[in-house]
Symmetry: C2
Subunit: 184 residues, 2 copies
């Protein structure tokens, strides 16, 4: 078994991970407080990050590079600017190429940061092994969904639930490939 | 404050409450076992049921009327057949008319059973006071969504989380009218 790819992401109760314009300002009240919602444990476990090109640009725009020297693999061509002290690789091709490059370099679990398009295509391709959903007690009523299309057969194995005082609930699952219940 | 309207419903982790054809066979593994997933507590609390016409027909098709003599209010015109021993009223108009009729008769909390169209229109009209989501550890990959459009401003107040051995998680929230965070 190769080391797992972990999709750790915040989602509103109605299934959105960003506003209609890709903004995540709605997550503001959940950032920088006493709780880290499992983020520290995640960082201690992984050997690298996977992200889409738009998410990379978005992270750059938010301020100093927040991931230290963790190897970061971005799907897409090299941009004009890259943060000085970060270890960022740009991988051409598709999600499978991204995963291959990151696994060859790190040999360790990988955090799939996002965004929606990369997360959706990796879910659709059966490339996500673990889900860590930080379910935020908010109804956005619109925006960019995490789950938005057919998925390959598979089963979710619950791997833990943690509730926080803010009302956020961290839901953890392993995704096993194979037959799954269908709505048909 | 009038007695609350409670939307208690099972939803897959990817946000679906039924398969593409409205079927709920995917819930089979969670029915009839040792756990009732909060259903008994709900029944003890409510004074009546609200449902859409299609859900009513679907319930009839599943076998004996399962709700005993609980007053049931169906949005739509009277059908050709109705169960003998059930207390079923058919209400013309819209969701607000349904709620008015049920509150006048019962004066008690009401369970909004579904289906999706009625739940969505009542959420959109700000007529749901409490959410009890039985989040099922399944990714359906398609079907009929619970949340599928704009919602009025409001805030979710977490009201409890319960986890079950099956991996199902019961999430409870109160919906308070008023400004809410937006993704914009």
């Amino acid at each position: 078994m190769p080391p797992p790819i972990i999709l750790y992401i915040a989602m509103s109760l109605d299934g959105y991970i960003a506003g209609p314009d890709g903004s995540v300002t709605w997550l503001g009240p959940y950032e920088g407080g006493d709780e880290d919602y499992g983020y520290g444990c995640l960082l201690a476990r992984i050997g690298g990050l996977l992200m889409g090109r738009c998410t990379y640009e978005q992270v750059l725009g938010l301020g100093p590079w927040p991931y230290g020297s963790l190897p970061t693999f971005v799907l897409g061509s090299r941009p004009l600017r890259a943060p000085d002290k970060a270890d960022v690789s740009f991988v051409a091709g598709g999600p499978a190429d991204l995963v291959r490059a990151a696994r060859e370099r790190t040999g360790r679990p990988l955090w799939l940061v996002g965004g929606a398009r990369l997360a959706q295509s990796m879910l659709a391709a059966g490339l996500v092994d673990e889900l860590e959903l930080a379910l935020v007690p908010v109804l956005l009523g619109g925006g960019i969904r995490l789950f938005d299309g057919p998925l390959p057969p598979g089963t979710l194995t619950p791997a833990g639930v943690r509730t926080y005082r803010s009302g956020l609930v961290l839901l953890r699952y392993r995704i096993e490939r194979g037959p799954q219940p269908t709505g048909a």
